[in-house]
Symmetry: C2
Subunit: 146 residues, 2 copies
DNA sequence: GCCGATTGTATCGTGATACGATATTAACCT
DNA sequence: AGGTTAATATCGTATCACGATACAATCGGC
């Protein structure tokens, strides 16, 4: 149990408050997201899936494995998620020529539309919540950063 | 006034990538948190509870209602959470003199210890993940700093 | 001191969903 | 051909927040 790894200084009350504030920010953001998303008939997971596709670096589709990484899920759970989303007409499976084992999960027109609306809401909310969601600054004894 | 680009401009591919990257960051952070926390025998919810207490602005305890707000849960669900945490010896119930209906949920010595260790890990990880967890900058065509 | 509102507690069931375990199929690569 | 990887399929399990509902204690106003 005792790993005795104390390379950093013990946290101050300020540090705890900063950590808590950040976590609170995340909770509030996810909470907002959930309500926004559900009011559009989607689940948070669906939205995350759509966003991971449209927001994939450089392209707008991904394979199951890539999704598992981006969503931090077992690839096995991703299949279930994609199944559900496909049943709702949000995403699509397409062949992946360079490797026939893999497939491309991509957005349908409906998925695009829902995602665009929801993402706009999310962007606005992120702007609004910048105070709570900003990373802690960890001001040390050295001096202030601004 | 409606300055246009803030609220209704359609999102660019860059915007989607920024949103997705941020969400990815959150997922990774929570994933890290979960593993770190579980390896110490706690659940993510327990850690959040402890952190909300120790990180409560100005003090180190909170009432059920306050916790419901900070954790974004129904006050009713907080009771269950506190029960579980108390059963594990992490938190404690103490009377709240100014209002006998309310109670003070506070950390036990064990809770303090676990929280201190875990929070240090979290702080380090936050530092490491600053690139993914930083808020999107939303650079518009006119180039404005938030 | 009564009454409505608030705070916490208790219980039961429900829904959502990620996961582990396990197996199968197909395609890849050497 | 053989070993590996990607996707799929099933089944069961665990977690957990929640709604609904009720009750007890306390507070505050009058």
């Amino acid at each position: 149990m005792d790993d005795g790894r104390t390379e950093s200084a013990p946290l101050t009350k300020q540090d705890f408050e900063a950590l808590a504030r950040f976590r609170f920010g995340i909770r509030r953001y996810l909470r907002f997201s959930e309500e926004a998303v559900r009011s559009h008939g989607l689940t948070p997971q669906h939205y995350q899936l759509l966003l991971a596709l449209k927001g994939f670096p450089g392209r707008e589709w991904a394979t199951m494995r890539e999704l598992a990484d981006r969503l931090q899920l077992r690839h096995h759970s991703v299949v279930e998620l994609v199944d559900r989303a496909q049943k709702q007409g949000l995403v699509d499976r397409a062949p992946h020529p360079p490797d026939a084992r893999a497939i491309r999960v991509q957005l349908t027109a409906a998925g695009q539309r829902d995602l665009a609306r929801l993402s706009a809401l999310h962007r606005d909310e992120l702007r609004r919540m910048s105070a709570v969601l900003a990373l802690p600054t960890w001001e040390g004894p050295e001096g202030a950063a601004g």
